[in-house]
Every structure is written in C-alpha cells, then in structure tokens.
Symmetry: C2
C-alpha cells in the first residue's frame, strides 16, 4: 500500500510552526529599539548602524548553552537557558570593549512544543532587554528523529559595536597590572557534562533533591543564570580604567586569561585570594576531581577577570564593591600560573 | 568505589577541542578581508563597518540545515552541508538588497571527530569565500549524549549591509509587476523530513542507489548544494531593476512570496511556466504526495523569485539567460495563487 504522504505525516507541522513563530512576535517587538527597522516575517532582520561613531567596528560571537540544557529538560524549566545564552554571548564581546546591538537565536527541536518554545525564546527576549540589545530574529527548526522527545538545542549569535580606538586588544597590558576577579553566579555554562555526571550519578541526586550546603535543589543550583557583566563593567570601560578582560568559560582561567594577554606576558593568580563557592567544593568532593582539573573545567567562582593598571586598582575595586577581588597580577612570561591551588 | 573523575572521562576532551579549533585557523584566515580585524582565539570576531556608506543598515539572518544533515550522515559526506548553510543565509539577506559581510557558524556534536569538523567547517569557509564574506568565528560544541554517534547539528548566522535607501522592503512593488523565477539546484534545504521518508522508506533506496531519472545516486541528488543567488542577482540590484525578491524556502512559493509583497497585493503564479525538475516529480510519485502539498513543502525548481517592473522584464531576462523564466505577476489581493497546478 502506498498512502498519500504529507509533511505533517512525517512529523513536520507547518501550521504549528507558523503559530509558534507568530506567538514570538511580541517578544521580538518588545526588545527592539529605534535602530530596529524590521518586524517578524522578514527574511533578514534590519538594524541601522548607530550614527555618530568615528570608526565603528562590529564585534560578533556565536555560542551555545551546552549540556546545561539537559538540566533544564530534567527540571522541566525552560525559561533560564535563553538568559544564559544571551549573557554568555554579551560577555564574549564585552571583553573586547563592545556593547551589544542585536541578537539572533537558533532553536532546534524534534517536536515543536509551543509552550516550551515560548519559554525558551521568552528567556532570550528577557535577557536581550536586560542587556539593551534587540532580539532581531532567529530560526526555530523542527527536526524529527534528530532530537530526543522533549529535547532541543539552543545557540545564539550577538553583534555589538565598539569604537576602533577603544577596542580592548591587549596592547595596553603591562607587567604589574592587577587582575581583578568578578563573582560568578554559578557554573555559568561550562563543565556541565562533568557536573551532571557528578551530581546525578556519583552523588545520586535528582533535580528536586536538596543540594548539599545550599538552601536550594540540585536543579536550582545547576540552572543558576549565567551572569551578564555588562551593567557592572560598562561604566569602567567608559572611564578607560580597564586594559583587558577575560571571560572565564571552557578551559577555565588558565585557558581564557592568556587569550587576552599580549605575547611575552602571562598571569600569576593566587587561588587563596577568594573563597571558592560551595557548589565547586561539593563537585570536587563528589567526583573526587583533582584541583587542577576543577580549575581547568570550571570558573571556580570567578566569571570574569579584569586587567587593571595598578594606579586604577583602588578606583575599580571601589566601584565594584564586594563582588570583586584582586586575585593576582600580570607577569613577564606566558600562560597563567595558579598559585596556592588545592 | 569513587574513582577520581576528569572531564575527559565524561566524554569531553578539551585538548582535542583545542586541536580541532586550531586546525580551523587557516580556514578562517583564508576567508578574511581588509575589514576583518581579529584572528582565531579572540572571544569575539571584529569587523570594521565599511566606510563611505551614507546610512548603512545591517541585515542579519540565522538558519540551520535541517534534516538534510541526515543525508550527509548516511552518505558520510560532510563537505557540502556547510555550503548549503552559508548560501541559504546569504540568500535570506539578499532578498532585502544586502550583500554579506561576515558569517559565524555553530557546530554541535556528541563526539568531536577532527576530520568531520574540518570537512563541515571547510564547506562553510569555501562558501564564505565564494560569497565574498568573512568567516568571522563560530562555536564548536562537544555535547556527549546529546547527539547520536556520528551526528551533529549545524547552524549559521550572517550579517550583511545595505544602504538604507536601497533596502528592498516591498514599497516599490506595483500591480502588473512581473514575477521572474530563478532555477533551483535541487531541494535546497527544505522538505528533507518528507523527502527522506519518501526516498529511503517508500522508494526503498539507499544513498548509493541510482536515483530514478538521474545519472546520480540518491545521496548525490539529495545533497545538491543550495544555490547562492548573490552572483546572479547582485548586478541586477546594482542597476535598480528589482522591486522585491523572495527566497523560496520552507512553505514554498505560497508561504514566501507574500512575505515580500505590500498589503493589498498578491501574486498569481502559472505553474505551467517552467518545467518541474525530475527530483520533485519522483518525490510526488514515490510518496503519492498531492500537488498542493508538493508546492507548499518544496521549491519545485524555483529557488528565488524576483519582482520586476514590466519595463525591466526584457533586460532582466536578457541578463539572466536560460536560468530564469517569467512565471506570473503581481495582482491586487493577497497571498499567492497557483494556477495550473497539478
């Protein structure tokens, strides 16, 4: 028998896709600004280059959420991962001195569940508003037999702008510059494959179980939203007080700080300079993970590192308050040395 | 027992990821231009806004490849899907009159196989060069137990630019304007969930089997690269001969043409105006798919539709040659009516 076949028979419902996309229109509209020249339904999103800049340089970055998504699936909580995604991307261009202009998301799923799509994109839109960034468009892809039931992948892409002469390219960094660490809100979006193995297999916790040493469930602790450092750091950049910045993502401090230092300079970090948050201590114990590995996989409580000239240290720390600590300095050499580790 | 756990034990190999990323550096470098101000390893890619424009407007789009990827997996051929992705995105901003500036990709996989990553990103880089577009960066994510072994998802984001006064926003479209169809190279990147069901289940073909009516295998026919219309259409845009353009993607002509027409105007398409390519005829027969559904899911051989004032029709068709046909006109009303369908 050879029944007549339609797209819907094979699991792709164009009408449902249309409905889901239309339901996102208010989210896009609410995040727009005077530079947003297009509405939902356009093939491409339109954004006017801000006027009045001398030599505007676009700064762009793409990222995903990684397997933090698995914690969202298990927790049936889909409104936080979009915020993690946007904030991660915003931080990635902030380290070059840029402020975000617009964002686009890519959401791929096996079966388009309208309420899940709305929650995910709602999180994206909320974070865009919080970062004064337009949600200019995106793609919602329905890919049956690609993703497991109830699962999806989420990626995003940000475009920001910076004056050419204000790009943080490491050239202003000098030996003796102070490293200032900024508090992380949690694991941010890195190390989740290891963290999930430890929490859900080794420690034997479920997402709703209490996490040791915290007044919160394992799911809540692991889903804590990746912090955007834009509101904290933008005023310092405005003042010209920062020589370089590193976003502590996959690879940890050792992997990320050297990326923003010029050739011939390295970093010396004193791991006793701040108190490692409970979640990382529990992961190290629960998984028997060596300290060197912990610092390579996780941010260990420091989500962003600013490189600051010594004469600006007091002003910067004064402006940042208790969310920041001096944790080392720039030295001649290469790489990042972690002292007092473990 | 509680063995000490590392990231690599859980399936994430940071060293392999570093190696894979470094192997992509030449691909990124080769696609750059004078506006590309950053190298590999930077958190964000830097791109100088082109000088000399009066009111530059950025045009951006995000897309994926959909389940065409499944055909690539089955064929073990990974060098074409990146080209489909870039060309799709380039076409999506071309319809608003924009030329591409830069591109970023997102590649997510369960297990980072260096040769597969190189082939996929190599295809992305090649298409970027072909479209005179910089591959400014991207994200390669290793997500164990998220994607099946040997599988990956691929998404991309393009940013282009257009002078504000040259944006194709539909305002120049008039009743009586001619619709000119441009030849598609194949299915492009739409309708693959239905097409795969028909070819591999209903027709019972393998990727290496001959495709009926073609001197090519089923895999070759289904993997044909999504065509970029940039080189064909850019000279016409330069002349100001085009009032609007629609990229025929998911939803077909009916779903996409109305997106670029102003309120109060619709389209009348004569489906006898061109010869539907063999692949679509075989899919209709093999799946018993009603004609109305075929035209809603697939491009049916027309990958792009230009809206052209009648007085420009001869010039446009002369410039385009045999790859283009007049296939209808703009009428008062709404939507797109397909005449002679079936």
């Amino acid at each position: 028998m050879n029944d007549s076949l339609t797209y819907k028979d094979t699991g792709v419902d164009l009408d449902a896709a249309d409905r889901a996309k239309r339901s996102l229109a208010p989210l896009l509209a609410a995040s727009g600004d005077a530079h947003t020249l297009s509405g939902l339904g356009a093939f491409g999103g339109l954004y006017a280059v801000p006027a009045g800049m001398s030599q505007p340089v676009l700064v762009s970055s793409a990222d995903g959420v990684g397997t933090k998504l698995k914690v969202a699936f298990a927790s049936k909580r889909h409104d936080t991962v979009g915020r993690c995604l946007v904030n991660h991307c915003v931080n990635d261009i902030l380290v070059q001195g840029a402020r975000p202009l617009f964002f686009l998301d890519y959401l791929a799923t096996g079966d388009l569940e309208e309420d899940v799509v709305s929650a995910v994109v709602g999180g994206v839109a909320r974070a865009c508003r919080e970062n004064s960034c337009a949600l200019l468009g995106g793609e919602t892809a329905e890919m049956p037999d690609f993703y497991a039931a109830g699962e999806y992948d989420l990626a995003g892409f940000v475009v920001g702008v910076v004056e050419r002469e204000r790009i943080l390219d490491g050239s202003a960094v000098r030996p003796g510059d102070i490293l200032v660490g900024l508090r992380a809100s949690g694991l941010h979006t890195n190390g989740y494959t290891l963290a999930r193995t430890i929490v859900f297999e080794r420690m034997g916790l479920g997402v709703d179980d209490d996490f040791p040493g915290e007044d919160a469930s394992a799911g809540d602790v692991l889903l804590r939203v990746h912090r955007s450092y834009l509101p904290t750091v933008a005023p310092l950049l405005q003042q010209g007080w920062v020589s370089a910045m590193a976003h502590v993502t996959g690879g940890g401090m050792e992997g990320n700080l050297p990326r923003v230092l010029p050739d011939g300079l390295g970093a010396r970090i004193d791991c006793r300079a701040w108190s490692v948050p409970n979640v990382f201590r529990q992961l190290a114990i629960g998984g028997g993970v060596p300290a060197s590995e912990m610092y390579r996989v996780f941010n260990m409580g420091v989500g962003m590192i600013l490189v600051v000239p010594p004469e600006r240290e007091a002003s910067v720390l004064g402006a940042l308050g208790e969310d920041a600590w001096p944790l080392g300095e720039v030295v001649r050499g290469a790489g990042a040395e972690l002292a007092g580790l473990g």
